[in-house]
């Protein structure tokens, strides 16, 4: 079988919004990824939100985040509930750096606890970063991916805290409490 080498990655640069959130950037096209789960899709409506901090603790204000998760029964499209796209895209707020997704809470995926895959691109990030968000009010103790993380203290970097309005996760690109990123 032919083996072709993968096309190299390059940074999304500072103006990723032009192409990937063209509605917000007003470059003529409509945004994709604005509705992860249409109205009426079974499941608990939740908001997940957070910030991404650089090595100095400063929030990234120019990053773009994508979310990919299963429906309430743990199924991915095309086998998921009608109206469930599973995929969302959000630009960080240009002032606060906050990213936000409104969706439904995913179910467990096989033996994996409910989770949301997150993928981050930005200026200064040479390869899109894969990480995950888990929920603090779920039983994550036997999740095989969290248990791959050798140092238990680092598992916390993937667990979103429940607040009144959202599950919140701070992603740290480097330094104290550096988030676990995956090479899937």
């Amino acid at each position: 079988m032919t083996e072709l080498p993968e096309t190299p990655s390059q940074t999304a640069g500072p103006f990723v919004h032009i192409g990937l959130t063209p509605g917000a950037a007003r470059t003529g096209l409509l945004d994709l990824g604005t509705a992860i789960a249409a109205e009426g899709v079974p499941g608990t409506r939740i908001r997940i939100a957070g910030t991404i901090l650089d090595g100095t603790g400063t929030p990234l204000r120019d990053a773009l985040v994508e979310a990919w998760h299963a429906d309430a029964q743990g199924r991915y499209p095309p086998d998921a509930a009608d109206g469930f796209r599973g995929w969302g895209r959000a630009a960080c707020d240009p002032e606060s750096g906050e990213w936000v997704f409104d969706t439904i809470k995913p179910g467990a995926v096989g033996d994996q606890a409910p989770h949301v895959a997150l993928w981050i691109v930005a200026r200064g990030i040479n390869q899109g970063l894969h990480t995950r968000l888990y929920f603090e009010d779920e039983d994550n103790s036997s999740d095989p991916v969290l248990n791959l993380i050798e140092q238990p203290v680092r598992r916390d970097s993937l667990i979103a805290r429940r607040t009144d309005e959202a599950y919140r996760l701070t992603i740290r690109l480097q330094g104290d409490g550096e988030t676990v990123f995956f090479d899937p």
């Binding site: 072709l4 190299p8 990655s9 063209p22 470059t27 990919w68 095309p78 599973g86 988030t179 990123f181």
Partner: protein, 231 residues
């Protein structure tokens, strides 16, 4: 069915100090290798009705008149690492105009904005993995890194594939541009053969006489590894 691991030598490292912004934005701990599960092996599905009719035509999807600049057709195929076409996948592009200026609130370059150019396009690949965009050739532009760094002309590409682990953002450069060899972002990829894979080549065969010069840029996503159970 599983995927071949990513070859780090094909990609820029997270920390590439000549590209200064990468210094504070690069993870310092190793990435955790993960056997792809359902979350990584599946990916979003896009449909033709997600897109607008003119989305792939940057010559007409923003303004009333034709934009200023060298008219080009940028086209190619999206393949997987096994050489198979990736059909119906979303390809998105964004770029500066012919002056090297982006339509973005934070681009303060003196190059002129073009009232007829938005700089954004997207399409789904065909059954055979092909994609094509009509646009103008972007201009080079300066950026704050050292005091005198200029980006080679480039178009930013985003591609999905069928699995979330294939997700790729990259940039396509143009054959013959002397700025490629001087660009800290392009050269953050250590392997010159890999840098060359980001260069679109003049394609006289697809040039539209008296209309547009064609450039070809093929994109390869991560491939599957055949297992004993696959025929």
């Amino acid at each position: 069915m599983t995927f071949r691991p990513r070859d780090p030598a094909r990609h820029p490292p997270a920390l590439a100090p000549a590209y200064k912004t990468s210094v504070t934005r690069s993870p310092r701990l190793p990435l955790l290798s993960l056997d792809p599960g359902p979350t990584e092996r599946t990916g979003p599905v896009f449909r033709p009705d997600d897109l607008g009719q003119m989305d792939a035509d940057l010559l007409s999807n923003y303004g009333e008149a034709a934009p200023i600049g060298e008219r080009i057709l940028i086209h190619g195929r999206v393949l997987d690492g096994n050489g198979r076409p990736v059909p119906h996948t979303l390809v998105e592009v964004w770029q500066a105009n012919a002056s090297g200026r982006y339509r973005h609130v934070r681009d303060g370059y003196v190059g002129a904005l073009d009232p007829d150019f938005g700089g954004c396009g997207r399409c789904l690949t065909g059954e055979d993995g092909t994609y094509a965009f009509r646009t103008v050739k972007p201009g080079a532009y300066p950026w704050r890194n050292t005091r005198n760094d200029w980006r080679p002309a480039h178009i930013h590409f985003s591609v999905f594939g069928t699995a979330f682990l294939q997700r790729l953002v990259t940039q396509c450069y143009f054959e013959g541009d002397p700025l490629i060899a001087r660009c800290p972002i392009a050269q953050s990829i250590g392997d010159p053969v890999a840098v060359d894979a980001l260069v679109a080549n003049l394609d006289m065969g697809q040039t539209r006489p008296f209309d547009m010069i064609a450039y070809r840029f093929d994109i390869v996503l991560r491939g599957r590894r055949a297992t004993w159970f696959e025929t």
